[in-house]
Symmetry: C2
Subunit: 364 residues, 2 copies
């Protein structure tokens, strides 16, 4: 039987406590004969405290060797003043870059039972199911020059570089079109071609890939600012949205917030398929952050983290039945009213992080 190597990087804040619930789920599957091997290491502020770096070389080696990385969250006020190069986020950015995780999949799903938690009207978001496909290893996040320079007169100039190559746009477009084919067959490509050359370029490449390889999928181009507006106005018009690293950062956060249940949303970051093994590097993480304000209190909702493991079952291990089983268990627990404070309805008793994990194991 195949063994699946998982690296757990709980990170900071609520990361460790939500990861603990994933370990329960992993344990349950292991007992039923699914071969999971897990290692655990530090990332973010906790790695800085231990090693003076946002991720150690050893942890990077484990990540390279793993079939999938499960990532919790990083950051907190404690590390707000550490040197820039070793700030908590640097660990996550290095994992994305060094593992080549160019495709970030962020589903935004509004569960009917939770629709009232949204700040939007129920009819606007109920049943929402969109997928944001964000380019994750290019653009302004990594382009050079990226620096602050002091000029002769003592004033300063800061620069970041938004940079894209043909193959980077091609491969993320293919991911989006492929996903759309399994969904509602529509891709909305978001950029600012009216002011950015990278936007002009993005539009050209996406159009070319569409014509050559996916002409049966509906494609629309939308300006990133208008896309943000339309997400607020009537999000159900979208199926798959494909966009660059920076716009994807913002648009996926908007989409997540629409659902009213940030604590519920998983994400997957995937690399290219290795032609020899058919495998791809992958990292799975909740959309929510480290939430330092509630860390250590057992209040955090572990479902986004558990759902991220569900995405690993599906995308990294091809364990579709197991993934479906986990999704059903999560849905049943939600329906039964076992909910953390962030999603407990009015008059409902909120339970703790561990209670939700235990209830999901029991459902399984």
């Amino acid at each position: 039987m195949a063994t699946h190597k998982l690296l757990l990087l709980p990170g900071d804040g609520i990361g460790p406590e939500v990861m603990r619930e994933v370990e329960k789920i992993v344990g349950w599957f292991r007992k039923r004969g699914v071969g999971f091997e897990t290692e655990t290491d530090l990332v973010g502020g906790s790695a800085y405290d231990a090693h003076g770096a946002a991720i150690s070389e050893d942890a990077m080696k484990l990540a390279q060797a793993a079939d999938a990385v499960l990532f919790g969250a990083v950051g907190g006020a404690k590390w707000d003043t550490v040197p820039y190069a070793v700030r908590p986020e640097a660990g996550l950015l290095r994992l994305r870059k060094d593992l080549g995780l160019f495709a970030n999949l962020r589903p935004a799903i509004c569960y009917p039972a939770l629709a009232d938690a949204s700040s939007l009207k129920r009819e606007v978001v109920e049943g929402l199911d969109i997928m944001i496909v964000r380019e994750l290893t290019g653009g302004v996040y990594f382009g050079e020059p990226k620096e602050i320079v002091t000029l002769e007169d003592g004033s300063q100039r800061a620069v970041d570089t938004q940079l894209y190559h043909t193959h980077e746009v091609e491969r993320i477009a293919r991911v989006a079109f492929d996903l759309a084919k399994k969904r509602r067959n529509k891709v909305s490509s978001a950029e600012k071609f009216n002011v950015m050359k990278t936007g002009v370029f993005w539009r050209q490449v996406v159009t070319r890939i569409h014509k050559a390889e996916f002409s049966d999928v509906e494609l629309e181009h939308v300006l990133a600012d208008n896309c943000a507006m339309q997400l607020v106005r009537w999000p159900k018009q979208f199926d798959v949205i494909v966009t660059d690293n920076l716009f994807g950062d913002i648009l996926s956060d908007i989409a997540a917030m629409l659902t009213g249940s940030l604590g519920m949303l998983p994400s997957a970051s995937l690399g290219a398929e290795d032609p020899a093994t058919g495998k791809r590097k992958a990292l799975y993480e909740p959309v929510h952050g480290s939430a330092p304000d509630i860390a250590g209190k057992g209040l955090a909702n572990p479902i986004a983290m558990i759902g991220s493991f569900g995405m690993a079952l599906r995308y990294s291990f091809g364990l579709t039945d197991e993934a479906d089983r986990l999704d059903t268990a999560i849905a049943n627990v939600l329906a039964s009213g076992t909910r953390t404070k962030d999603i407990a309805g009015p008059g409902m008793n909120a339970v703790g992080t561990q209670d939700v994990g235990d209830a999901i194991v029991k459902e399984l």
Copy 2:
């Protein structure tokens, strides 16, 4: 008596028909002795059709000479394939850059009478009153290099440059703090300091100006992605948001959409004060676009355009009483139920563009 020189640039789509209603208002004030002198010229697609450029040199001269420019809207499918350098948006970008209009003020106000038109719940947006202060002449909009390059192997590389200088961030920060002092005394500064050097720089400069000149104003720093989320979750936490050109483009569109009444929102773009004359260059435009789908049908809501003229009265001419009078007239017309289709409540009879303009003149 002083004469105020206005340049009207109606532009494309619904631009001309909403500008016509402003002319009625200008006429009304002129009859009551306020010295307005107006000229009209082309911009955007209509300028391209006439001159092959998105704005002619003559129009630019008029703009330089005017005390205020009133701008309608530009763009439409007809010009989607014109050469990039002369696309309709280029006219607006040139006006901003050549007139030095670095400070873009975009109020987002949710009128109680219209709160139900929002896709957000009434309690989330009712009474909302925030001001987005967007840097408008720097950042990724104008930084060089900005190009698409073909490489030796035939593939391409596209680049845009996000660039900020000390004085650019200082002056926009001052505008934001000054505005906050006349409002609820709070500034939220949005950037991505965790991934962008321009974000680190932005945060440093804003912090320094705050300490040195505005320490009595509350200042918070917020990541741009989180700011987008918070605008959707609970926008009333904000008073003034100050941010760069690109984030401002997106965040101000989100804020506008929250109010549920895009057709209502004006904006002002201001230059630096001339130390000799005390005057500043200024352009006023509605937040909405050219809406080609309803252009020429007399359906467009002229209030954003008329409100933009109201901002000109206030910010360019110091005509505070006149501006208040116009705002009151607009509010009364709204309350009376004279509304275009975009904001007519259920069961209300929608009126046309001209009816709204006429009703406002009558109210005056």
